[in-house]
């Protein structure tokens, strides 16, 4: 085991050495996470209106300019990042939890349970996600909780499929068969043996899930179906920017770049984790 982890760390080092993009990505994520946590240190209130200084381009006082109500755009970007990241992480947790539960249950128990659960996955995957998520969102009161729930509850299908496939092979391994022969309870075997074995898959898809959730959130908020005013995310800021696009292109440019960098960085982070947990995949 020690040998294995040494090799993994060595591989990670080489990967970091040859793939500078990953370092940039991770530093970006750290900075953006810190900035959105400490957003309150900004000298400006994100909701303070200043009609005398509205739609001003970037300047020394307002680095990212001001929006159509004179609010400091940098501060709003930071608070928006808070919401975007929060939605990404929390809905990832929800969808991973559901996906792992369904996936392990289907793979481990097999038979009718597997059949039933996978048909549910098939049905949910048959409805285009855009339609599914928007339809569900009209049944809930729009807002932060609604969007987190909608994304979390309806994006677990791919993770369930992956985990199920892995579970199918893991459950035939000797240590699981042995545990079964020892008459250990199913729940115990799943928690103790199955989930740790499929953990690499779970972590990799969880990382890309965050990126996905941020994308979905921004699309929904852009359409006005996501977080509601005065709260804003990068997506809803883009929605707002649309109406003043001709006068203030920076208002559209900046949140978009933030989304791109963040999603790109989470995907890169996923690649790095893949190198760590699946050394064999890289050696090919």
């Amino acid at each position: 085991m020690a040998m294995l982890s040494k090799r993994r760390i060595r591989q990670m080092r080489t990967e970091l050495k040859y793939n500078k993009g990953i370092i940039v990505a991770i530093s970006f994520l750290l900075i953006i996470a810190l900035l959105s946590v400490f957003a309150f240190l900004s000298p400006y209130d994100p909701d303070a209106l200043d009609m005398l200084h509205k739609l001003e381009g970037p300047s020394a006082a307002h680095w990212f300019g001001t929006d159509d109500l004179g609010r400091d755009y940098l501060t709003r970007i930071l608070y928006g990042g808070r919401i975007s990241l929060l939605v990404g992480v929390v809905s990832m947790l929800i969808s991973t939890f559901i996906g792992v539960t369904i996936g392990t249950a289907a793979g481990y128990f097999g038979g009718i349970i597997d059949n039933l659960l996978m048909r549910v996955v098939d049905i949910l995957s048959s409805i285009p996600w855009m339609v599914l998520v928007t339809v569900v969102s009209i049944f809930l009161k729009p807002g932060l909780q609604a969007i987190i729930l909608v994304i979390g509850l309806f994006t677990w299908m791919s993770i369930a499929r992956l985990v199920r496939a892995e579970t199918l092979s893991v459950k035939e391994r000797e240590y699981v068969l042995y545990a079964k022969a020892m008459d250990q309870s199913n729940i115990f075997i799943i928690l103790r043996h199955i989930i740790p074995s499929v953990l690499p898959t779970i972590i990799i898809s969880a990382t890309s899930d965050i990126a996905n959730a941020i994308m979905i959130e921004s699309s929904l908020s852009f359409l006005g179906l996501g977080v509601q005013q005065p709260m804003s995310s990068w997506g809803s800021m883009l929605n707002r920017a649309q109406s003043v696009l001709g006068k203030a292109p920076y208002m559209a440019l900046i949140p978009g770049l933030m989304i791109i960098f963040t999603v790109f960085s989470f995907n890169k982070l996923g690649d790095l984790i893949r190198v760590f947990v699946e050394p064999k995949a890289i050696e090919k």
């Binding site: 049905i123 285009p128 852009f222 696009l245 978009g256 963040t262």
Partner: protein, 317 residues
């Protein structure tokens, strides 16, 4: 093979039924009464009751469901709550507009993707591969609506080259050049939006083909790079692309929701988004029903095409 196709169709049927049940249930759950789409608000309660009986809305749920399904299949999709217009009529007017937007951009993206994917995958790790792969990673992280906004700013506001709203300039409803001008920006956006995923798909399919034995054999016989690529690899790479095309069938309806709404393109997307905002349930459920049916049919079609093209699958069954 006929057996396989029949088996696949039989598998798809229950899925269709369940989807229709879900749509029906959502309509029942939605906080509105179907009778309101037919009756006028000032009607007497007795008249409303009579109308309810006439349309079978006083029947038990399962009878209503069968009735509703029969109507859906025969093309009667009910009436909008907001405009009291026939949903089928509105959709029929909008679907061609959406197809006009989606089809060219999809074909364009597919053609570009096949070229780029083959170029990247055939020289894995090369310079072209690295550039294409990085661009794909960035593209995957870029929201299409943001690309749309940037293009609208540059070409619409700044240089004023292309119109940014709708399908026609007022008063030029039948002018083809005008329509083409309106088409360009949204088409570019949709093409760019499609590229990263499709290029990646073709690229990884190409890479996996190069690990196959037949490539090694060809090399051993002294075949050139171009010969291996064009005479052998391309054919095998294009096979899985058929699956991809089949799975893209639902895009003909749902592929451009956000792009349409940015450009105010009068297609299914803007119709659906407007319906969502005004809680127009009959419209929402019709779009949901039809797009899901398209997904299932698309997957079915992809499987059948694949089976027809790839002799190995026929042999397996």
């Amino acid at each position: 093979m006929a057996r396989y196709i029949i088996k696949r169709i039989l598998q798809a049927l229950p899925l269709l039924i369940v989807i229709s049940l879900i749509c029906f249930m959502l309509i029942q759950l939605a906080p509105f009464d179907v009778i309101d789409t037919i009756a006028k608000p000032d009607m007497a309660p007795e008249v409303k009751e009579a109308l309810k009986a006439k349309y079978g809305l006083d029947q038990p749920a399962y009878i209503q469901y069968i009735r509703w399904l029969r109507q859906m299949v025969s093309g009667n999709l009910g009436y909008s709550i907001v405009t009291h217009q026939s949903v089928a009529f509105d959709l029929a007017a909008r679907i061609p507009n959406t197809i006009l937007l989606i089809l060219p951009s999809y074909l364009l993206a597919l053609a570009i993707s096949i070229v780029l994917g083959l170029a990247a995958g055939s020289k894995r790790g090369g310079r072209a591969d690295k550039i294409i792969d990085t661009l794909c990673s960035i593209g995957m992280a870029t929201p299409t609506f943001w690309i749309a906004m940037m293009l609208v700013y540059v070409f619409g506001y700044k240089f004023g080259i292309f119109p940014i709203l709708g399908m026609h300039t007022l008063g030029q409803d039948n002018s083809l050049p005008d329509l083409l001008m309106h088409l360009i920006l949204p088409t570019v956006v949709l093409t760019i939006g499609d590229l990263p995923g499709t290029v990646r798909f073709v690229r990884s399919s190409t890479i996996s083909q190069y690990t196959e034995d037949y490539v090694m054999v060809q090399k051993a016989f002294g075949a050139g790079r171009a010969e291996i690529l064009f005479r052998h690899v391309v054919k095998n790479v294009l096979l899985p692309v058929i699956t991809l095309v089949g799975m893209s069938l639902p895009r003909l309806i749902t592929g451009a929701f956000i792009t349409e709404s940015i450009f105010s393109w009068p297609g299914v997307g803007t119709y659906f988004i407007t319906a969502i905002r005004s809680f127009d349930y009959p419209v929402i459920m019709s779009v949901m029903f039809f797009s899901s049916v398209m997904v299932i049919l698309g997957n079915l079609l992809a499987d059948i095409c694949y089976c027809l093209v790839d002799p190995r699958i026929q042999a397996m069954r």
